[in-house]
Symmetry: none
Amino acid sequence: MLKKERQAYILHQVNLHNKVLSSSLCQEIRVSEDTIRRDLQELADEGKIIKVHGGALSPSFNQVYFPTNGVYSQQNKKTIASKAIDLISNGMFILTSGGTTIIEMARMLPPQLKATFISGSIPAILEYMHHPNIEVIMIGDRISKNSKITVGAQAIARIKEVKADICFLGTNAIDLENGITDNDWEVVELKKAMISSSKKVVCLGISEKVNSVQPIRVCGLQDIDMLITELPANDPLLKPYQDAGVLVA
Amino acid sequence: MLKKERQAYILHQVNLHNKVLSSSLCQEIRVSEDTIRRDLQELADEGKIIKVHGGALSPSFNQVYFPTNGVYSQQNKKTIASKAIDLISNGMFILTSGGTTIIEMARMLPPQLKATFISGSIPAILEYMHHPNIEVIMIGDRISKNSKITVGAQAIARIKEVKADICFLGTNAIDLENGITDNDWEVVELKKAMISSSKKVVCLGISEKVNSVQPIRVCGLQDIDMLITELPANDPLLKPYQDAGVLVA
DNA sequence: GAATTTCCCGCACAAAAACGCAGAAAGCCG
DNA sequence: CGGCTTTCTGCGTTTTTGTGCGGGAAATTC
């Protein structure tokens, strides 16, 4: 096999799989590892691939996996927030969890909106407090320093006392098999209570969280009414959820 | 799995869920915890994540910071706060109102102190949350936007359920004839509840507030155990209060 | 305070890379 | 065709890198 041929093959593989291992390449092409290494070196010098110990990665790898900063997902969260806000109307009682997406929503609430927001999340409450016309109800109990939210039996009991029109859940992970999952036991308990106290449950989450799983289960897909991501409703990623009976926006 | 790949995966997880546990990562990726820890270390060195004991956090998940702004007579409040802190010992249940003096006290709490603080004041809760060893209980209810405190029947009912060792009241006005007075009906109701739920009541206030009156009465001098100002205990201004049976510090 | 978990450090080992070298193949030229 | 250079490849050897392990320090939890 000619040198150029080999390099073209390598480049093809890299672009296909985003990565190659020198060890597997030298088996496929039946040449010594040195040869592969020299090829990788040349391709790396030309900027076609990124050479790493043990193989090489696609140059787009960095963009794909290392989002340079929060601006990108910040924009997505604003998109989600504005879709969520469309569901709110005057006079509603709204239960919300915490999380960055919820905070974003709180910041974007239109100033003339009159509604009642109920939450145990300190950062969320701080945002709601800044609004001129909304009534803010804090769910009290012990504060989890980690999640900056009130947790415990008392909090759950308080939530159960309300019947909210709508509940917005910041979502850490959602997938078809397990539904909504999260990684903090106490937060999960809280979310369960919020779900059972609301007429309508809306999950907010960027699309990256779709089809990911966390250790603790919050609820199944049948318990949620709507899923909001930054994607358009007809995105194929969301199709299975629509098929499972979840409204998508 | 390549090292870079692994790090990209970790970073992805951190950005997605705001936190990762080294223990769960090493199970997912099937490498030793040391390797994970080294990866976390490298990513932390690059500023991509914040390493903490047991895992890592997203750098964008920063906490709400409360500016130590130019509240007037800051120094006096610090003096008061340090006197108040002398009354606290490990294991105590402490009920506090809001107010700048209370905030100052919260900031000066010694890091090794282990106690439980109960309050309905958002700014106070924010300060308590930053402390490593204290348990924080939030009193929930409707939030009064101008006093940044939870008020209402629910809040009062919650306060009545506790029996605190000591209660610190930020004091707006105190005089011999009317005792403690204030200018917000709902806050007054709250303070009354706090007083009746505590074994010991301590009023914190700068000396300017001594011998001043506000429209609504909280309680008489006989209901308070101690008055703390920035003045020395033997200051003549405070003599009448001592004569009335109030401890002065 | 004691027990447990997590972290940090040095070490060992394995995998991979770098380097020098030699031989083979191909190209160039008189 | 022979001699020469150039390019490419593979093979040891040495270095570097990555990983896991054990022990002790530090932090965390109860």
